[in-house]
Assembly symmetry: C2
Homo-oligomer: 604 residues x 2
């Protein structure tokens, strides 16, 4: 933990910098220039200033006060880390706690100024701030990173080697992808497209990197017009083969740090006759300000998002193969842990290590796709629990271990959750486990007309829990990248309407997770997660029907299944799935594992 | 059928009128001033001009050509009725057939003018026309009803007696309703509200009438400001008690025909400082033009729509009672027809008459809520089939009769469909019937978090059909009025996203129909429809859960049920429903009917 005195000193320095810059309130979020899911050390200014290490938090510093906003996962930790720093904790979503725009509206005076680094705030959030303060004559100063001047040992800006994805792995050349993007631009009457979402850029330019933890991406921007395409990369990332492959696709390479002058020049040169398309949710407020100062622009989803989500047949072939290997590793892990827990002393952390090592043994393995969640007992109720070596629970021969994990492979990105019974569990746990498994299988077995979105289907996964008067607060499913981010859009399985989140039709070739769960704070957590592939089922007079096919083949723990709670059809679905698991996985197991698998995939 | 020569003569007269008015294309829709579901004789200008008698159709007349657009239900009939009139039939939704805006865009020349009576075209459709023709410099002339001058024996404008609904029947006074409406206006920052939807007006002012077939409404408008409320009624409708009840509620009565000068004066007097709210889907293009010419206005749903849809406890008590009586009539009808078909010679029409007479025997009966659909065999595949005395199928001891019917009562409006087995039916029919019944019960049995809309739930009703690769083209359910229109919004059960149709959360106290079906053209149709009441089920840590409760208690024909096709839980749901039917209805049946009901509601 950073010394509290040190934190207070940093805040003093920031306030001095604020005074010099004429800024009354300064806002420090937790984000990089591209709204990535994880941020590297360079972007941990909020942690540097506050000492709070959680993954979600935003700091607001005024001349007299400082406040940190974070969510329920981090309340306990934040209290500890913020003690004696003078920073007040704002518990997000709790009754009576204002969010940041409201707080600023309530506290700022007429004529004051709000500062932040416009590059690490999304256009959408920046506009929220503008709206909240519009009646107050507050000046927004978004051009300066005030933390930089006081952060002596700031970590380096991430800059990894660019890797080129051969067409054999993705089925489409950059030129083919550009043609598709331009077709979509034409349909939406945009003559230029600005992309700052890193996984979209990696997809479009068939590149990969390592600038964001778990996400194999490079710091980059893209600018596509009807005729030209530009990719903005750091000089340090460039390889000879990057230059060659971009040249081959007719893509201009520009320096990552030249994006702002490039855009200004582009607009000033009057080349921008048509509309520039950009995406509010991912483009930074700094970029947004440039667009609106100079150009004729429109907010909207980038076509790259949907195109990326629909996997090519080449990608799907690799994905199916890699999910098989990944499923074998997880199945072996389950076999091992159910026995090992009775023979060795294990912890959440050592269990996770064992699983990560099994994945490492797969030749195509590159990295895990997110930190393995190995959550025992009540830890399972925390959706994003992460055990570490020095702070983790020992596993006992009782209760359940929730393991949510995935890998980055040459050939795909995986994501799977199983909740494993380690010993005695209560009847209530079994009933909840059965409801979760039933919901997972009900959604996976859906047949639906083309045109359906996740909003139409979510009730299938939630139904068995809703019938018990239970629910989980998160979505049921998200898209999954291909050798890219484990979370991607635009599709999702989520019943609730959200204005900010566009609703995407489930298209053939999309992947989606199916992960209902039960989370009882202080008691236990259950989640069963498969990844599904969207396929066409039938075309007939009534229309085009779609269905899912499982990519994940890992047994669901029958020790927690109450067969009588399921209908005949639901039991059949479970048995059919287990038969598939057995037939698919068995050939790759040891004899002992095979015997075990036959037993744990028996008919119920 | 009108004489074809006469039709040609009328078109010639219209063209003369067009020439005099300087109009190149004239459009004649099928609507009244309020976009009502049915139109009275006064508004049947399209039928007068074309001879086409179907309920849906729009006529476009140019100096040389004339075309009529209608949907698939009416293709055969329209061909017959349009023959030798010189009017070309445009088959809506068929491949290669342009819709009217596209047709006009393709055919009209620069500088030409399009005419129509702006009072019988919705603002939404008028704007579509404007958009389609925006690039063509076409003038839109919407101020003249050119048909009026050539229609000598035009039926009178509908003008029925106003009836006042006592508060004992609806639970809320006009003053209370106005307070609620104003509260919603405040929330949406509107300082005036214009209402032209007749059922909304009847609800708001506790009035009823008889100006539209099956819909107990009066031709009227409403104008609500923060302080004042105006209702515009025809002098001929007014009763002494109307005057008294409006005076009691502080509502100003104005003449129906003075609405335009009233609005002009209102705007000109500058009383309109704030925003006027109006609803595009129901307000006429003529009104819309006034708003935009004068005022500060905004398009949006009228708060009356949602307030009307949530029934008061008083209304619900009456509704539950009247649905019981209505269910008894339908049950008696089913008992009768299953026997009578073997003993008498019956037709679709005589069957409908028998049912209508049973309803007429209920003391609270006022009218049917729509023309009874009695559709035998292949007629069942037509969703809006209407048999008449001279053109109807005889019933045989085979196949199925689909009967969709409802009543207007003092105490509620009903809607129910049963498909009745009259004799031998095929295994396929039974399987389809079972899938429909299963879907109906699955939706009715749903438990769901508050916040769900029909889009989240529709898959429950459609699932059993989708699993068979089948679908029905219409929605699964609609709201139902209280002593008002049998179809009302804003709630609906429909999976597909429709931009024009707002999605409404299912609120406690709403009614919604649940009517999946199978429609096989030229073969048979199946529909099973109950009306459901939305109720709160449970409030707990996980949130507020909702459920449905049946209002309709009529047996589902077990002669067409294949129990093996249903899961245990689904069979239980059917048995539970039939037990409720038996317990609820039996006391009101004859001994013979009771014996029969016990048999037809037996456990499967």
């Amino acid at each position: 933990m950073t010394d509290k005195k040190e934190i207070r000193q940093r805040l003093r320095m920031l306030r001095t910098a604020m005074r010099e810059a004429g800024v009354d309130y300064y806002l420090v979020p937790t984000a990089d220039f591209h709204n990535s899911e994880y941020v590297s050390g360079y972007f941990k200014a909020r942690e540097f200033l506050s000492g709070f290490t959680g993954s979600n938090g935003m700091l607001v510093v005024s001349r007299e006060e400082a406040g940190l906003w974070t969510d329920g996962r981090y309340f306990v930790q934040a209290e500890k880390e913020l003690a004696d720093t003078g920073i007040r904790l704002f518990r997000m979503q709790e009754e009576g706690v204002p969010d940041i725009p409201v707080y600023l509206e309530q506290n700022m005076w007429e004529g004051q100024s709000l500062g932040f680094d416009g590059r690490v705030v999304t256009a959408a959030f920046g506009k929220q701030l503008e709206n909240a303060l519009s009646g107050k004559n507050v000046r927004i100063v978004s051009e300066q990173d005030l933390v930089d001047s006081i952060w002596r040992d700031r970590p380096a800006f991430p800059c990894s080697r660019a890797e080129t994805v051969p067409v054999e792995y993705c089925g489409e050349s950059v030129a083919q992808k550009l043609a598709k993007v331009r077709e979509k631009m034409k349909q939406s009457k945009a003559s230029a497209l600005f992309v700052s979402k890193l996984d979209d850029l990696m997809w479009l330019f068939n590149l990969r990197g390592n600038d964001v933890a778990y996400n194999p991406v490079l710091m980059s921007y893209g600018f596509i017009t009807e005729k030209d395409a530009y990719v903005f990369l750091q000089a340090g990332s460039l390889q000879r083969e990057t230059l060659e492959s971009m040249r081959g696709a007719g893509v201009w390479i520009r320096d990552y740090w030249s994006i702002v002058p490039f855009l200004q020049e582009y607009f000033l040169a009057g080349r921008s006759r048509g509309i520039l398309l950009y995406d509010d949710r991912n483009v930074s407020y700094a970029m947004y300000r440039i667009f609106w100062a100079y150009g004729n622009c429109r907010e909207g989803s980038s076509p790259t998002e949907l195109l990326k989500a629909v996997k090519t047949e080449t990608e799907l072939e690799y994905i199916r193969k890699i999910y098989l290997k990944d499923s074998i590793a997880v199945t072996k892990f389950i076999h091992w842990i159910k026995k090992a827990v009775r023979e060795q002393s294990l912890t959440e952390y050592s269990a996770a290590q064992y699983l990560d090592n099994l994945r490492r043994g797969i030749p195509e393995f590159l990295d895990v796709s997110f930190p393995t969640i190995s959550a025992y007992g009540e830890h399972g109720a925390m959706m994003h629990y992460e055990a570490d070596e020095t702070d983790c629970a020992p596993l006992k021969e009782a209760g359940m271990l929730l393991v949510d994990s995935g890998g980055q492979y040459l050939g795909g990105t995986t994501d799977v959750t199983r909740t494993i019974v380690l010993g005695e569990i209560s009847q209530e746990m079994k009933e909840h486990f059965t409801a979760v498994a039933t919901g997972m299988l009900r959604l996976a077995g859906a047949r639906f007309l083309y045109g359906c979105t996740g909003r139409n289907l979510d009730i299938l996964a939630r139904g068995p829990l809703w019938d018990l008067g239970m629910d989980y607060k998160c979505g049921t499913g998200h898209g999954v990248g291909y050798m890219l981010n484990v979370h991607e859009g635009p599709q999702s399985i989520q019943w609730r309407y959200r204005k900010q989140i566009p609703e995407a039709v489930l298209e053939e070739g999309m992947l989606v997770t199916d992960e209902p769960g039960v989370y009882l704070e202080g008691r236990y957590g259950i989640r069963t997660e498969n990844v599904l592939e969207v396929k066409e089922w039938l075309q007939c007079d009534s229309g085009r029907f779609m269905e899912f096919s499982h990519l994940t083949y890992v047994p669901i723990d029958l020790d927690a299944i109450v067969p009588e709670q399921m209908s005949e059809k639901e039991r059949e679905a479970l048995n059919r799935y287990h038969r598939q698991v057995r037939e698919t996985i068995s050939p790759y197991l040891t004899e002992e594992e095979q015997v075990w698998l036959t037993e744990v995939t028996r008919e119920v």
